[in-house]
Symmetry: C2
Subunit: 658 residues, 2 copies
């Protein structure tokens, strides 16, 4: 997340900046969807901000929030719906509440929205009234539904983007009113405390005179970025990017309705420089010009996707006022033109965790010229912004349950914890799960075997794209190995049993257990004549070893985190399998392989592309964005590479579970 | 001045931000070089910040300052010298003072600079200790002289640029210390509260590893803009630009010593589009592409001058970390690419008074890629940033004397006031003083008559460049007209007397009073044969009328300001003639013509190029820069164009003083 988002929590309610920052520092991710019952001070933030109690009527819900937050935020963070169509930006004037005991001082907007009598009676706009002390607040029945979207792992996000538009009908200047064009516009936005971007200063004069002083102000956080002629207030868009090492996904979001307009994905154009981050870092280390080329290729990938989703959604790129990007640390460094070399060699150092203010243009994306780029911050060299986004999307820091988040890839990121504490680490799983280093491995593309179902007598394959199988992707690999383990054709040490044993254990499959040269293999599909192993899709003994190494690295990672937390595997109440591989992997097989702890299978959940979901959440809600930033302070990173006991523990994890 | 300078007052002492902003709001230009005697609250800022009394020992000087300012600032603003070589940036640790009664809490820097016993004894670094309440402060005798420069109209500016460099020797990272590169650098700058620019994030990793973790941090205000390998702390430069309609001047300043390194000037390349701002605005109105061309030409002028001064000073443009620009409103709009059209037509509206944050790159100037541009803000369409800079340089808002500031040009800016109040206006003088609209007029260039000395019997000319006279520039025009008035050859209504009268009044000159066609002329120099008027440099009756119109417009302007202030001409204690024309004009002639009030001639002072001086001050001192910004709030603009009595008053001023 870029630095400007530190103040994003304040969004349009800039008068709350100080209190919002307090909130950020200690509490952002905490108060929230789950009712805590006890006072939230229990999280140990003794030195944190002053809290106040609010009692919402008629629901009778009592919530405890940092002093200074608005009633609107206090309510929406706690799932109490207050009328609003603007999401707390002060434009719709629908969030009317009544402060029953001590009412806050009326704001400039209150004076416009209410009669003097109503103000005396305690009526206030919830988005402007701050919770200065304990208070009782009456919330009228809903007339409109606040705009919201379900994103991430069942997260209900109330729309409150950093981008807002305000349509203004202004008086023309005269010799008696010679205020500058910019001052004229800002005076009509006096509930905000804005600074203007040079772009807005360049456009304001022409916009005012082109449309009889009827214009739309475009605001991102506390910056006026543009003034557009006429009423364009219904047109505001953002693009969420999931910048993967392999695949890049772009989602165009309508920020006035919280709806996705178009989605597109493409391979990362850096592919020719290697399949994983280490080979790309190495390429940049070998040749000083390569960094520039890698940066350009990543930016071109984003730019083409942005153009594609805008075309599909019939959106002018200049109507895209903000983009968000979640990627691993290496991809994030490279796309910003930051040398990734220190990420690739011990002691694995990031250029920065807190990314500075950046523009969509800094990512090479054609959008509004002053469109912001919100970039998710990494925790460490191998727990990147994609994981920050994933944790945000899965609500790891807001759930009372102790959960294990596992994003399986060449580098496997593992996070353990609940709303009170979070531990993260990265395990070097190697490329097995991405089909690399596997003899017949391939990416999850057309022709890849993705599901393998075995009985002692039969074997069925499911192939991506309904094509002739040509290789084995990660999920197919896991299926094949777990199938062989289940049938006893692989022993728990990972050795393929003898052909005699196989014939008795699984007579229908025994013919598939054979040799290619000196190596033992299990044939999944004959491409040519049966018996011609060289023309088949097979699993080799060495492939099994690769998978064992990968799963042992991952299991070692979460075992060490459990130990750091003083917990046992059975204490884990849910496992979230993140990333594209996670969504293909069968939970039962993940348990069988020992990739995840042995807990009831229904507690192992595929969370999908949580990085992309987190990026969408950041665009839809400054509140969620601030929560993502706060994660940096909430997660403790556990480095595995300097642990003397890592290798012993790794060997302990090589076997398949009994 | 750009918006970032609002926070510039805080500079490196970011902990003072809130109090510094208070200072800016009400007091910046006020406390200062002049001792007020009485409490400064007398300026009517009853709602301003809390003030505290400080007694400096052994001098016994008592000063009253807003609570929260540092002792260093409080002293230097009041002319009390405290040892310092860094100008209050917290790097030199020389500004040691002792708080005699209640000492401020020690800062992080105090703990490094003093022993525990010294801290107990009240020793503090003055640049970090805040004046929270009334206090007595012991200032040791000076060991070093604080770096200072005399700029502007005798203004002594203590060096405190927004740009600072810090040389850091950092520990290498390890698995036990995996802080990101940026966090490592920022931790060593923990007395500042910095945010990092993307450029710094891009450079930090390579800089650290290129120089064994010995690097120099480059900071502008509260932004880390770069990290350079090794110790470059002695190399920091800025360029001050005076962007005139006609002439552009660039001064390269060494910001570590407050010394000018190189100066260059050039004609504004926009010249082909017209001599004055109105013709350039008209050009932009006629053809929509012209604005872009005018912007490019202004930027090219600045860029070439920047390259020239850098070459002359042997400075790498990347060592220029800040530039400042003072120009009239039209030039400022155009160079930033802002449409100037609304400046040129009633009701004369600026795009903005407060210019947004800009970079040197936004001005087309090659410097450090993140070099800031400090742009002086205009008061109105015809009282531009050049006047803001000029008022700063001449200390108009800090002097107890009531002074009249007159910048003579096609548009004449007039400011009247003292440290308690300031009134400004603009008078449409027309181009006479720039030699345009005068038959034999020319700019002040080689061959221009700049001084004319007349007696009844003789006439002597002084010519620029020691050349044959080919025309008459503004000062020569004024000399010629005042000479003729003095000799009686021009009557007080501005009519050339008859040839008979001339022969009796000035027998030696009578032959010069003749005709060209129907028009009466006075020949200053025969280019061909005596008597061939068509080949001579002459002054025509119409030229005299042009000059009368110009001087009447100006005199009307300051008469109206005097009336607004309830003062008479004799109340003016000093007249400052600003701008290049002002420095050529003889004070005696200015009085004789009625251009300025009839006051003792020694009180009329040529102030020189005060706009350029103001730009230099802004680079040398964030304190002075903040003072320039504060002027916007302190000056009241008086619009002449809607005054019903303007024409009557104008006619009253046409005559030459008795």
């Amino acid at each position: 997340m870029t630095l400007p988002t530190r103040s994003a929590a304040a969004a349009s309610s800039n008068e709350n900046l100080a209190s919002s920052n307090e909130y950020l520092a200690g509490d952002t991710g905490r108060a929230g969807i789950e009712d805590r019952g006890e006072a939230p001070d229990a999280d140990g933030l003794a030195a944190g901000p002053v809290r106040v109690d609010l009692l919402f009527e008629p629901s009778g819900r009592r919530v405890r929030v940092p002093a200074g937050v608005t009633l609107f935020d206090a309510a929406s963070w706690n799932g109490i719906a207050i009328d609003s169509t603007c999401g707390g930006h002060g434009t719709c004037k629908k969030c009317k509440v009544r402060m029953l005991d001590a009412a806050a001082a009326p704001s400039a907007l209150d004076i416009r929205a209410f009669s003097a009598e109503e103000i005396r009676d305690g009526w206030r706009l919830a988005c402007r009234a701050q919770a200065a002390g304990d208070a009782r607040v009456e919330v009228p029945p809903l007339v409109t539904r606040p705009k919201a979207a379900t994103v991430g792992v069942g997260r209900q996000v109330i729309l409150r983007p950093a981008v807002q538009k305000r349509y203004l009908e202004l008086a023309e200047p005269s010799l008696a009113d010679q205020r500058s064009d910019l001052e004229r516009v800002l005076a009509a936005l006096d509930d905000l405390e804005l600074r203007a971007d040079l772009h807005a200063v360049r456009s304001v004069g022409r916009a005012l005179r082109a449309a009889d002083y009827h214009v739309t102000a475009v605001i991102v956080d506390d910056v006026l970025i543009d003034v557009e002629p006429g009423d364009t207030s219904g047109r505001l868009f953002g693009i969420a990017f999931d910048l993967g090492t392999t695949t890049v996904v772009a989602t165009l979001l309508d920020l006035s309705t919280a709806t996705p307009v178009a989605v597109a994905s493409a391979l990362n154009r850096q592919q020719p420089f290697g399949a994983d981050v280490i080979t790309r870092i190495s390429a940049a280390m070998m040749d000083p010009d390569t960094l520039g080329r890698l940066t350009a290729l990543a930016q071109e990938t984003l730019a083409d996707l942005a153009a594609e989703v805008c075309a599909a959604g019939e959106v002018d790129p200049a109507e895209v006022y903000e983009v968000a990007l979640a990627g691993n640390a290496t991809m994030t460094h490279i796309v910003l033109g930051i040398d990734p070399e220190p990420l690739g060699v011990a002691p694995f150092i990031l250029a920065t965790r807190l990314l500075p203010e950046a523009l969509a243009a800094d990512l090479g994306v054609a959008a509004h010229p002053r469109a912001r780029a919100v970039i998710f911050p990494p925790f460490g060299a191998y727990v990147g912004g994609d994981i920050t986004a994933g944790l945000l999307a899965s609500g790891m820091d807001r759930d009372s349950r102790t959960r294990l988040f596992v994003d399986i890839g060449t580098n496997c990121e593992i996070v353990l914890g609940n709303r009170d504490w979070l531990l993260a680490t990265a395990a070097p799983a190697g490329p097995a799960f991405e089909g690399a280093a596997i003899r017949c491995g391939m990416r999850a593309a057309d022709g890849a075997i993705e599901v393998v179902t075995m009985t002692p007598d039969s074997l069925e394959l499911q192939v991506i794209g309904d094509a002739e199988p040509v290789g084995l992707c990660g999920s197919g690999l896991v299926d094949a190995v777990t199938g062989l383990v289940r049938l006893g054709l692989l022993d728990s040490s990972g050795r393929l049993v003898s052909e005699e044993q196989a014939a008795s254990l699984a007579p229908g499959l025994a013919g598939r257990l054979t040799r290619l040269g000196a190596e033992r293999v299990f044939v999944l599909h004959w491409l040519g004549a049966a018996g011609d192993v060289s023309r088949s899709v097979y699993l080799s003994q060495r492939d099994v070893r690769e998978l064992q190494f990968a799963k042992a690295a991952i299991a070692t990672g979460w075992h060490i985190l459990l130990e750091e937390a003083g917990l046992r595997p059975a204490d884990i109440q849910q496992v979230l399998l993140a990333g594209s591989f996670g969504s293909y992997l069968s939970p039962a097989n993940a348990i069988r392989l020992g990739l995840v702890p042995e807990i009831p299978v229904l507690r192992v959940v595929s969370a999908g592309n949580v990085a992309g979901e987190g990026a969408k959440m950041a665009l839809l809600s400054v509140r969620e964005r601030a929560g993502g930033l706060a994660l940096l302070e909430e997660v403790r990173y556990v480095e595995l590479s300097d642990r003397a006991d890592f290798n012993d523990r790794f060997i302990d994890q090589l076997a398949f579970p009994g």
